[in-house]
Amino acid sequence: MLKKFVSSVLAVLLLAGCAGGKKADADAETNESAAADIAAEIVNELNMSDSLSAMKDRAVYGAFLGMVYDNEDDLAVVPDCAAYRGSDNSSDTVAVFRTTDAGAVKDKITSYLADQKANSSMYNPDELFKISNAVVETSAAGDLVILVICEEIEPARAAVNKALGK
C-alpha cells in the first residue's frame, strides 16, 4: 500500500515537472526569437503582410526610442528591435523590442504614441482611435516589449499575447 502511494506521488510529481518544463521551454523559445521574426509572425497573424513593410533598423531605433542604432549604450538597453509600418499615411504599426529595461522602453513608446496622436489630430483624425487604443505588452520575463497599432484591437492583443507566450 505504502509502495503504491509513493509510486503514485512520484508519478504525479514527474508529470508536474514535465509540464512546467514545457512551459518554460515555450517561454524560452519565444524570448530567444529575433525581434524581426516575432514582428513578422504578428504581421502574418493579423493578415497585414500586404499593407506593412519592414522599417530600416536604424529608423526603428530613432522613430520609437529616440536612440542611435549604433550607439553602444543604446544597444545595451535595446540589443534587438524590428518594426513594420505601412507606406501610406496610416498609423498601422507592429514593433518588437528586445530589452534589458522594459520600463524605459514603455516610457519611450508612450511618448511616441503621444506624438502620433498630436500629428494625427492635425493631419489624419481618422487614425486617432487606433493610436489611442494601441496594444503595448511586455513579456513575463520583462525582456520583450511589443507595440501594435491597427484597426482590429482584439485580434492584435491576441496575436501579441501569443507571441509573448501568454
Binding site: 529608423a59 530613432g62 536612440m67 511616441y112 503621444a114 496622436k117
Partner: protein
C-alpha cells in the same frame, strides 16, 4: 741619337696636348647648340580652393534663372506641400514631393502624395543635381535631436555619395506661430534646437542650408500671421514669398571656387 728621341718625345707630347682643345671646342659648340634648341618652361602647381562658408546660410543674390528649377528636386513634409500647391516653383520645372505627417524616420517607407515611392528613394535615384529637403516639424514635440541629427547626417552622406556632383540644400524650420500640444516657449526652443542640428550637419558635411525665417517672420521672430492658414502652413502669399526667397538664395559655385596656380 738620344737628342733625336728627346725631340721626338717632346713633339709627340705637344701634339697630344693640342688635340683636347679641338674636342673641347666641339663639346662647347655642341653645348651651345643644345642651349640654343632647348627652352625651359616654368612649371606651375595649380589647386582649387573653395571659399564658401558652410557655417552660414546661403547669402542673398540676384534671383536665379527659371531654368535652374528644371534641375531641382524638393521633398519634405506638409510645409513642402504648401510650396507644391501654391507657389510657382512647379511651373518653373521643380520636381516637388511631399506627404503630410512625414517625419525623418518615415523617409524610407512612407510614399509621397506626389509619387508612389518614398522620399529617400526619390532623392537617391533622381538625375537632378540640386536637392532641397524640408523635414522635421512632425518630430518637433518629442524627437531626441541627437538621434535625429545622426540619422539626417547619415542620409546626407549617402546622398553625397550617390551624387558627388550634386548640391544639397537643407531648409531650416521657420518658426511657426503656434502648434498643437506644445507651448509657444517649448516650440521656439525645439525649433531652434532642431535648426542648430541642421546647421551642424551642413558644416560637417559641406552642404548648404537656407534660413526662411529671414523672409517669413514678423518682428517677434515667428511666422507672419498674414502668410499662414493655421500658424504653421503657408498660404498662397506665404508660399510664393518662400519660393522667391529660395530663388534668391542659390549658391553660384563659380563665385566661391577658384583655381590658384603658383
Amino acid at each position: 741619337m738620344k737628342k733625336i728621341w728627346i725631340v721626338t718625345a717632346a713633339a709627340l707630347m705637344l701634339w697630344g696636348c693640342a688635340e683636347p682643345p679641338v674636342q673641347a671646342e666641339e663639346e662647347t659648340e655642341a653645348q651651345t647648340e643644345t642651349a640654343e634648341t632647348e627652352v625651359y618652361e616654368p612649371v606651375y602647381a595649380c589647386r582649387t580652393i573653395n571659399y564658401y562658408d558652410y557655417e552660414k546660410p546661403v547669402p542673398e543674390s540676384e534671383p536665379i534663372e527659371d531654368v535652374y528649377f528644371t534641375d531641382v528636386l524638393m521633398g519634405g513634409d506638409s510645409r513642402m506641400g504648401s510650396l507644391y500647391l501654391y507657389s510657382d516653383l512647379g511651373a518653373k520645372g521643380a520636381e516637388i514631393h511631399y506627404v503630410t505627417s512625414l517625419s525623418l524616420w518615415r523617409i524610407y517607407d512612407a510614399y509621397m502624395a506626389t509619387a508612389d515611392a518614398p522620399l529617400y528613394d526619390l532623392m537617391i535615384s533622381t538625375t537632378r543635381h540640386n536637392i532641397y529637403l524640408l523635414i522635421g516639424i512632425n518630430e518637433i514635440r518629442g524627437a531626441d535631436f541627437e538621434a535625429w541629427k545622426s540619422e539626417l547626417s547619415s542620409i546626407v552622406q549617402e546622398l553625397k555619395q550617390a551624387k558627388p556632383d550634386g548640391n544639397i540644400y537643407l531648409i531650416l524650420a521657420y518658426h511657426p506661430r503656434y502648434l498643437s500640444d506644445i507651448t509657444d516657449e517649448q516650440l521656439a526652443a525645439r525649433v531652434e534646437e532642431e535648426n542648430q542640428k541642421m546647421r551642424e550637419i551642413a558644416k560637417e558635411n559641406s552642404i548648404y542650408f537656407i534660413d526662411p525665417d529671414e523672409a517669413l517672420d514678423d518682428e517677434t521672430g515667428v511666422l507672419r500671421e498674414d502668410l499662414t492658414w493655421d500658424g504653421l502652413h503657408l498660404n498662397t502669399e506665404g508660399s510664393q514669398l518662400f519660393a522667391d526667397y529660395i530663388a534668391s538664395h542659390v549658391v553660384r559655385e563659380e563665385r566661391y571656387v577658384k583655381e590658384i596656380c603658383e
